[in-house]
């Protein structure tokens, strides 16, 4: 392994093509979203303009973009907070034995592989029968949690599997209370992973379509709005919206990466300062 034979370069080329395949289309619609006012959904570019971005903010042209965007952000923030808190607690719980641990673990995995449309239908029916109006901040919040929590819990399980318990024992031997051990030893060590869990919670909720479909009620979230647009909008305004939401996702991902790196650096620095 590791010797740079022709196989290595073939694999490297394959990987390069795969990355191009992953990102090429996204880059393409980013370029096409700057089409001139006369331009269409495909090349050639007929001039370069911000026309379609401006078009996006004229409410009547493409539906309720502003409203659905702010609903999606608010929902994603709620999902993020809950996912981080519940996953952390569950991660701590799974370090010990408790009644029903195995069943809860399998339920979590089931939540991951359950077809989204089934969850959506089930929640819609449940609210329908209970005669409760579904809403994006109620039923859709629950629907999104069934998708984000398995990721959060599995990440926390992986983190705690690799966690060195000797550190906690050392703190306890020095007289730390359970809360102090958690606050000053466990939490700083798992903080980067918690940011990762939060990132999954936010982006998966922000982009979730199928689980919102029957649970969001009368007010659309952004993916529902985008789906509505695909059936009746045939101008590059679709690309402008796609470019904006993708740029927003990238911004969220980048700030999380920066957050993780800052935490790591600060820990290294403080470790060095204390000798």
């Amino acid at each position: 392994m590791g010797r740079r034979g022709p196989a290595h370069w073939l694999l490297a080329a394959f990987f390069g093509l795969f990355v191009l395949f992953l990102y090429g289309p996204t880059v393409t619609i980013a370029i096409l979203s700057f089409q001139g006012p006369e331009g269409g959904l495909t090349f050639p570019m007929r001039g370069v303009s911000m026309h379609w971005f401006a078009n996006l903010f004229e409410t009547q042209a493409v539906g309720d973009f502003g409203g659905s965007f702010s609903r999606s952000i608010a929902l994603a923030c709620m999902v993020t907070g809950l996912t981080v808190a519940i996953s952390l607690l569950a991660g701590l719980a799974f370090r010990r034995r408790f009644f029903g641990a195995t069943a809860l673990f399998y339920l979590t995995v089931a939540s991951l592989i359950m077809p989204s449309i089934l969850v959506s239908l089930g929640i819609g029916l449940m609210f329908n029968i209970a005669d409760v109006q579904p809403s994006w901040y109620g039923s859709a919040l629950g629907a999104h949690l069934t998708w984000t929590l398995p990721f959060g819990v599995l990440i926390m399980l992986a983190v705690f599997n690799r966690f060195d318990r000797a550190l906690e024992e050392a703190a306890r031997d020095l007289g730390a209370s359970p809360w102090q051990v958690f606050r000053h030893v466990v939490l700083p060590l798992i903080a980067p992973s918690l940011i990762g869990v939060g990132l999954f919670g936010f982006t998966l909720s922000y982009d979730e379509f199928a689980r919102s479909l029957m649970s969001a009620g009368s007010d659309n979230t952004l993916p529902l709005e985008i789906y509505g647009m695909t059936t009746n909008v045939t101008t590059p305004v679709l690309y402008a919206l796609g470019t904006l939401t993708t740029a927003f996702s990238f911004l969220v991902i980048a700030s999380c990466l920066v957050g993780v790196m800052t935490l790591r650096r600060r820990r290294l620095a403080s470790g060095r300062a204390r000798g």
Partner: protein, 281 residues
């Protein structure tokens, strides 16, 4: 946190999954036996919904075509995903670049699926890049119609969306393979290819199984990719379900859902029978 009992820490998770996963699934199962008319659900116990779902030849045809989507997508994502994971795990020697490349593969997962589907229009459309290129090279004189709004487009989108569900678990499993085993194989005279087939592939199987479970369940339950990329021309189990939902025939949709769930669980069980993934958890 010894002060707080473990069961109490697990309670929030159990409550959320209980209320928003377990109860909804039970609701679907119960409603699949209910009757309905054009305006409301009628509680009861009828087998009519299942008779309609299973009795229609079109259901069987649609299940077959969905299984075909799943099989083809599985084969392609497995081939591509395994190759990419193998490159990352065994050919990228710097840990930093390994992490950078790995992140590069996972980031698209955190962006919108619908937008990623839409982004194929400039390539596949009637006047898209592929048709322009083919006509420019004189390979055809008229634009190919089958590129967008076809089974081909659906499968392309599936591969585009879901390959990273193969890459991530296979890569994780490969990173745990003891490198000494591969060296031992080489010392025993195995060629690079023999080391891959005799050592790496068998030891990567748990990752392959987890990736396969993801891809198969995602494709079987999908309706948005099929509807969007086929322009409504292809059918899948999910599309059938969402049509029933749109017509407010909830018990019929529920019966479809129960059958789908049974099929998906059977497929997962079959995968778990072939490969033991317990060590991965």
């Amino acid at each position: 946190m010894r002060a707080i009992p473990a069961w109490l820490q697990a309670t929030p998770l159990a409550c959320v999954l209980g209320v928003f996963l377990l109860v909804p699934i039970l609701t679907v199962v119960v409603v699949s036996f209910w009757d309905y008319d054009s305006t409301r659900l009628i509680p009861g116990f009828v087998l009519e919904n299942y008779r309609e779902v299973l009795g229609e030849p079109v259901t069987w045809r649609i299940y077959l075509s969905t299984l075909r989507f799943a099989a083809i997508t599985w084969a392609i994502t497995l081939g591509v995903g395994f190759t990419v994971a193998y490159f990352l795990a065994f050919h990228v020697t710097s840990t930093l670049w390994q992490m950078v490349f790995f992140q590069l593969c996972t980031i698209p997962f955190l962006t919108s699926n619908i937008i990623r589907m839409i982004s194929w229009i400039p390539f596949l459309g009637r006047n898209g890049l592929i048709n322009q290129a083919l006509q420019g090279m004189g390979i055809t004189d008229h634009p190919l119609e089958f590129l967008l709004f076809s089974d081909f487009a659906v499968m392309l989108a599936f591969v585009h969306l879901y390959t990273l569900f193969m890459v991530v678990p296979i890569f994780n499993t490969m990173m745990r393979i003891d490198r000494a085993l591969i060296e031992a194989a080489r010392d025993a005279g195995a060629s690079g290819w023999a080391a891959v087939t005799n050592v790496i592939i068998p030891l990567s199987l748990p990752g392959v199984a987890i990736g396969s479970i993801f891809v198969v369940t995602l494709v079987m339950g999908d309706f948005i990719t099929v509807r969007l990329m086929s322009g409504g021309q292809s059918a899948s189990v999910g599309v059938m379900m969402s049509n029933a939902i749109a017509l407010l025939q909830y018990p019929a949709a529920a019966a479809h859902a129960v059958v789908l769930l049974a099929v998906v669980l059977l497929m997962v069980a079959a995968i778990l029978r072939v490969v033991d993934i317990r060590k991965e958890l």
